[in-house]
Symmetry: none
């Protein structure tokens, strides 16, 4: 999940010439993130990123294949801080905590994520990469649910993928469609719901 270099030369000559300047990558991603987090109407253009980063457009396109790729990597960088996977022994509690943390993180990055999806919807190539990133991030929740199943807190027959689709579906729905907040209360109720004790 890092800016892919231009196709490595087939010859096995190790490397000559000036090395990539890591400051460039940072400047680009930081500028992108800053613009992405801006007011909702504002569009994020490559020109603007380049200008703010003090970098040439060409350099951006050397390291990222498209605007979507830049945005994705900026979001990835920002989302680095993993949400912890709690283990108190009680699935519903753990789930509620995890979801509340996740929701909080997502709320904070709302503008970024909306714009990221906007770009993915325009550019098939970006979409694939984003899909992969998002799918990869489901691992935390999955392990939590699997543990629940192993402990018998969740029926063995329950389709975890569908459950996860419901959970993340609700999250994205609120973010992209309904534009309504994701609260800790939502997290708690959702946790009870998918754990089969909706009203305890």
């Amino acid at each position: 999940m890092s800016s892919s270099p231009p196709p490595p030369p087939a010859t096995s000559r190790p490397h000559t010439g000036r090395r990539r300047n890591p400051a460039v990558r940072d400047a680009v991603l930081r500028s992108a993130a800053e613009l992405l987090a801006g007011p909702d109407g504002m569009a994020v253009s490559i020109d603007a990123i380049a200008r703010m980063a003090g970098v040439s457009k060409h350099t951006i396109y050397r390291w990222w294949p498209s605007k979507g790729a830049v945005l994705l990597e900026a979001v990835v960088e920002h989302a680095q801080q993993e949400v912890a996977i709690p283990d108190t022994g009680a699935l519903v509690t753990d789930l509620a905590t995890f979801l509340a943390d996740t929701f909080r993180a997502v709320e904070r990055a709302g503008a970024l994520l909306r714009r990221l999806i906007a770009e993915a919807l325009r550019d098939t190539a970006s979409a694939q990469e984003m899909r992969e990133f998002i799918v990869a991030r489901r691992g935390g929740l999955r392990s939590l649910l699997v543990r629940g199943q192993e402990r018998g807190e969740l029926p063995a027959e329950q389709e975890l993928e569908l459950t996860m689709d419901q959970i993340y579906g609700l999250m994205w729905y609120r973010l992209l469609i309904a534009d309504s907040p994701l609260t800790a209360d939502d997290a708690a109720r959702l946790a009870r719901s998918v754990a089969g004790r909706p009203h305890s």
Copy 2:
């Protein structure tokens, strides 16, 4: 849910001048729908709509405030055919049927809906209207669930709004993020899941 005219004049003068040509509206919406349904990469521009409809851009902008408004109305026009609300007496069965129908309709209109959301994500004004449309269309599912609650098939305490967010969330998640199909099987399993009998 019709192309809003520019603010109706405050005076109560009945109407003077040439009337709006309904053929224009139809041609624009038909062209928009056709382009919206096109291959996934292709962008839908006002220029293209105008060209295909044999209509001037000016005319489009006279009746619709933005591209998003045109797309929304095209989708609305297309989505006219309501999904029936079945009533066999068994909530899970009814729900499964309703969702299967809904999913089928949504799958058919996939490209349209993706582009619609794409536009909403880049134009705050459009977003509000789309939100209203989408929220309005939740009525069918709500009545189905309410009936289930009244019959005691669903606990009275169950938060229907959250349940609906889960259902529609899954649907949009598959459509926008995962880009994976929505099958009749998904409908059935989802129906069982939200009705609290996930594995019967």
Copy 3:
């Protein structure tokens, strides 16, 4: 030089229906003149004329074939006040007076005339009518010069048309190209020049 009616009906039926409202003609020409006299950058559109006159565009196009025709007629109306043709017995004096008066009138109507020519340069049809109008207005100067020739103040062989081209040429040159003022002093010197006593 009046707004040409649409081709008179061949049938000799005297006239049915509502008669032309003369107030419309006045309102249109007055508005056109007002806009024409506006600041130099501002364009004069038919829409603007119609709006200011409280008249529909259609009505304008019913009575005038093009924008140029409206502008021309507005200028004609404004230029109605004829420049007097003096007769003191001395050609140079008379000519100087006449030209000074003419220059003063033209300077006042500068913006109008510039825009009129601008329109004529875009629209061949208008151009012809304007040409005719301008040529028709040469009569005053011509009679003055002819009288000078008859009195022997001007050689009989002098080509009056060429002389007039020089005089009006200078006037339009200053107005359209050089954008420099036409003074009474210019009038006097020009009068002496064409009368063959440039430095007396």
Copy 4:
């Protein structure tokens, strides 16, 4: 008299970045000239120039501030071939030759010049530049007249600027207003007229 770049950066950095492609400038000016010389009714649009030159509109606007500036430069480029300043010793003869040559050149470029002035009349910014260009081109005639004065063929008191206004005034009058030809005979008679021997 060349397409002005956007304000040269104040810093004295020599130049970085890709250089301006001279082929672009040529293609634009050539296309502009070709369209300018087209049939009289046809308007010359930036779109058309860009299309014909195989250049993007953006590029045109990068180098020229307005349509007028493009047209002016196209005309300048075309008018490069200077009219020779003859010196036979006799002012009237020299003047007649010079004017005949000038008239011939101007007649050939008639459509261009008309459209150039049309543009200047609707765009104050262009007007100023065109004025400067036209004024600059008066030098040839002026030197001819000055020589005549020095030789005593023209009275020392004669106002040369006024004389030139008469000459160029007649020329533009025929071109823009009267739309009548400028012949060699006109040149000869005009030469005699301004040289004070109108009927020899």
